[in-house]
Symmetry: C2
Subunit: 188 residues, 2 copies
DNA sequence: CGACATATTGAGATCCATCAACCAATGTGG
DNA sequence: CCACATTGGTTGATGGATCTCAATATGTCG
């Protein structure tokens, strides 16, 4: 599944320069400070954010608690999928966990570009497929693994997360309390 | 999110008849008996199955136990998403829970058709987006809801599941043991 | 009717949440 | 530069949710 990212990368490289120029034309770079919110609850996610540097996360509130749903690092694409796809208000926040630089593309500009440059539709499809597979993996972890197994999984497969992200956020990402995560780490 | 299915339906209606004819040309109807396997572990999911009648499910084995990941009813599209997308062997089974009739489309035929009929790419994208949102919902349920809440959720939003599917399968779909589900039902 | 799948119920063990106290590092205002 | 607040993390005690194992119905179908 990770190799699908490479397939997407090579597909992008194969795209004609006219299409790529259009893609650049509708994108713009921007910097955010640690703690800044790129998207808030009840807003429509009208932009996609390609992380060029730094760390960010997506989360929502459940009974007043922040539930982290995704962590973003360099080259990750940050969007609130349902809000972006439906262009309807969603419940997710996107927050910069460090100072970050992003490349922003507006939803509508991308939709317009797709009608003129059909290769962008295929690109959009590949990105949606990748996200679908990624969420399927997350669901599998919640469906069949214990908290300890889920923690060991990111510890081995995504050690950069554990190094760079506060345990409070990792705990909510794993769907467990901070205390339980602390005890899991002590037990290992 | 449910309304997205309507959007997909109306998009299909808006497609030119030449494209639709091609779609029909590469599809064929087939019947399966209750208990038949449409896809097995370690096989490549080379076909998509549009359920015309009956009930089916997708599941995988974890420590020898069957974990149901999706239930299909009329008009649902059954595929093992990752295996289908990557065209690689996957771990999921697809099984007929009753006698069923399906409309089968081969992966490669659909890929070929997409190159000639670009509207099919957009259709493919919409289907992938819908699946992504659906899996996101499932993940949300596992992330923040208790077993009882998850059961009540399908009881109210998808009562046809509870009526038609054995509790053993519903329990694995909810990620709980059959005994716990039985007790939840007794408690309500 | 017999056999096999499906569902219920009980008892004990395990995992994890919650509440609460405490600790360490960092930063900020006076 | 110190006092104190804030953030991030640890540890203990207790209760609730859920699992597992086991025994017992209940159905269903050849």
């Amino acid at each position: 599944m990770t190799s699908y990212l490479e397939k997407i990368a090579s597909y992008i490289k194969s795209i004609d320069s006219e299409t790529l120029t259009e893609l650049q034309r509708i994108s713009s770079e921007k910097k955010y400070k640690k703690g800044d919110l790129l998207l808030r609850q009840n807003e429509i996610c009208e932009k996609s954010y390609l992380l060029l540097s730094g760390i960010a996360r997506k989360y929502y509130l459940n009974d007043g608690k922040e539930i982290t749903t995704e962590l973003y690092f360099e080259n990750d694409l940050a969007v609130s999928f349902e809000s972006y796809t439906l262009q309807q208000p969603g419940r997710e926040f996107i927050e910069a966990l460090t100072d970050i630089t992003v490349s922003i593309t507006h939803y509508q500009a991308f939709q317009d570009a797709k009608t003129k440059y059909p290769k962008l539709v295929t690109l959009d499809l590949m990105l949606a497929e990748y996200y679908g597979m990624w969420v399927e993996h997350r669901l599998f972890q919640f469906h069949t693994m214990t908290a300890t197994e889920r923690y060991l999984d990111i510890l081995t497969k995504s050690p950069h997360i554990v190094q760079a992200v506060p345990l409070t956020i990792i705990a909510s990402y794993l769907g467990i309390s901070l205390e339980t995560l602390s005890r899991i780490r002590a037990r290992i």
